[in-house]
Homo-oligomer: 409 residues x 2
């Protein structure tokens, strides 16, 4: 991509009402546009990051047997009445709207009901189980306040997988796989070191649910981390009994602020019961399906990466989710496309700053935008090229051949 | 994909209130699930088709310089008041909802306002133009009735590109490219022969807009086709004056029912004016940006392909949009994975019916599901395999090597 053809450019300021660092940097870098509090559009660079994150999550979900589908945003009142979650007094963050004929419809804020209802049509026998359908879709939650940028927005892009298993044993087996897949996702997205498997309250069907909490002062959650063991407990379950249960010692726990980047939850028969989601087992007897839920907000994950890795010059993307791998900056009096063409031919993702503006602005913009590999061409370098990693300070000079070798690795 | 692992299966019946052929077949085949009138979820097979269609459209949009982004569903009242399209008395198919604090928000039904508003932040100089941003997103329209399956749904998945040009000349140049790109899309999607470039009314900034109308009795539009010239006029502009203008002879026109699968529209300064979307030209003078709009509903396109190509046994997908290229059906007493593995190793997209059910059901299901290449393994064939195209009647027998060669082409 030629930067001259990208319609966005960096901004000196973000909107005055934008108090969160993640949204400030993403707005200034040309990644997102603030439509209103808690509602953002994803500009070309931002969509590329979102797509990279989506690709990682999709690979991990497919690897554990996930099957992708896409359920509707509009939700049917009758379906939600089955699980008793239609009433605004029970679920207080619904967005609802009306058809011409006055029928109320809800805007999807989660997927348990839609999935249980669809699967009811297809599951009959033990042969039909287990199944692990999932969705990437836009979700709507009527948050009273929304001041954390893309950490907590009113409209957000979300992955939800639901597991449908024959019994607890089959469920637990998958649950452990999903736990590992989630850890892979956060590791691949570059925040593995800061992200803790966190025990949280479990509801009526299991002692615990599991959150994936990333340490950041911008987080809204309080967790207690055992750094040696690499696990944490959420404030709500930080009791002597639970700690004993988990083999944790109060003395080793450190209180930290964190943001929940994912969560997994055993649902038991909480939804299969009201939806009468049953199968016939090998003995010909009807049994309720055992369910689990596995969610990740992609925008929140993107915001978390920005929040925890950025420095005072701007964003620092891990290579795996960066909109481009290379930022090629031409500071020569006579710019040419040669290296840009070579990179493109070698299928190295590159954004090429071919704009006719000052060197200072180009370098400052590159820091703000945060692409991992910065290549600079300048008249004083002759045929050579300067390579700097966004997350390092040293600059090295290479021949074109050498730098291509490095980038191809 | 092993069919035994796909949670959907074919259905004998579609819901009683479903009167449209496209939705009936797609529901029975396990492609979509009807949530309510005009609202469908896309099941795994359906999402694969949608993704194929999306891939074709993306390629064609990128080829003419498009830049993808993703604007929000929630729309800001203040933005829409600029173009005077917020009022329900002016736009009668809005869905609206409310934030906790009582603020009304709209659900996106089109993108002119959101795009004009975002671009206003970025366009300053003639150097910033032209730009061609586009979006794939879910769109909501409060249709009074919705009986045409996925031809006209209340929630649908949509591509919209907007062109922002310096002047009419630059606009017209792009408009012609877009026209060609649209023709490529419908050709690649397998309905090129049935799809006519159709002149329709143009509004205040151009004499005509252009629709792409696909002939089908299920269509809601009436068009007048000149089959020799390969163009048509919409009912609304079928006047002596227009025909003369276009060099068409009334005698050569045939009245047909059709469905509008895409449309392109010159907007002139209709939106740049209220949004004060101006740029400074080379002479330092401010000029209004000239806009165009280019839309395609992906679900409608999918429904149209089903509607016009299906036979009485079921769906017939063109290879380009089929969920899989090959339907491998194992009718042998002792099934094995050998051919399935070979196909997968050769990166040929295959769905493998490994279910333990009767040959009759497998073959009937394959016809309904409509994958282009059907391969049958049976005991009477020995090491050979039977190949039948879904849109042909003859069956041929090949060795495995021969059939792989054919499929690799």
């Amino acid at each position: 991509m030629r930067q001259s053809q990208l319609f966005t450019h960096t901004l000196k300021e973000s909107p005055k009402d934008e108090v969160s660092l993640n949204a400030q940097l993403l707005i200034r870098g040309g990644y997102i546009y603030k439509e209103m509090a808690g509602v953002y559009s994803f500009l070309p660079l931002g969509l590329r990051v979102l797509n990279k994150i989506e690709g990682i999550i999709r690979e991990e979900m497919n690897a554990i047997g996930g099957t992708e589908m896409r359920t509707s945003v509009f939700q049917n009142k009758e379906v939600w009445e089955k699980s008793n979650r239609w009433d605004d007094n029970i679920v207080n963050n619904w967005f609802k709207t009306k058809l011409k004929n006055g029928t109320e419809v809800g805007l999807s804020f989660t997927n348990e009901e839609a999935y249980s209802n669809i699967l009811k049509q297809y599951i009959n026998s033990y042969k039909d189980l287990p199944v692990y359908p999932y969705d990437f879709k836009t979700i709507f939650r009527n948050e009273a306040r929304s001041k954390s940028g893309i950490f907590r927005s009113r409209e957000f892009y979300w992955k939800a997988l639901y597991s449908f298993s024959k019994d607890e044993t089959e469920h637990n087996e998958f649950y452990e796989k999903a736990k590992q897949a989630y850890q892979n996702i956060f590791k691949r997205a570059g925040i593995g070191d800061l992200t803790y498997l966190t025990f949280a309250s479990g509801g009526s069907f299991s002692k615990f649910s599991h959150e994936f909490q990333t340490l950041t002062e911008a987080g809204e959650d309080i967790i207690y981390v055992d750094e040696k063991k690499g696990i944490a407990v959420n404030k709500e379950v930080n009791t002597d009994e639970v700690l004993k249960d988990l083999g944790l010692n109060k003395k080793n726990l450190v209180e930290k602020k964190a943001v929940e980047v994912g969560n997994i939850f055993s649902l038991g028969t909480k939804f299969s019961d009201p939806f009468d989601l049953k199968y016939t087992n090998k003995e010909g007897k009807e049994e309720l399906v055992v369910m689990g839920s596995y969610g990740i907000g992609l925008g929140r994950l993107m915001g978390t990466i920005v929040e925890v890795l950025a420095d005072d010059r701007g964003i620092i993307w891990p290579e795996t989710v960066a909109p481009y791998k290379v930022h090629l900056i031409d500071l020569r009096k006579k710019q040419d496309d040669k290296l840009y063409q070579i990179l493109q031919n070698d299928k190295i993702e590159v954004i090429y700053d071919d704009r006719e503006i000052s060197a200072g602005i180009k370098l400052k913009d590159a820091d703000l935008i945060g692409i991992p590999y910065r290549l600079v061409l300048s008249d004083k370098l002759g045929d050579k090229v300067e390579l700097k990693m966004r997350n390092e300070d040293n600059i090295k000079v290479y021949s074109i051949e050498e730098v291509i070798e490095i980038l191809k690795k």
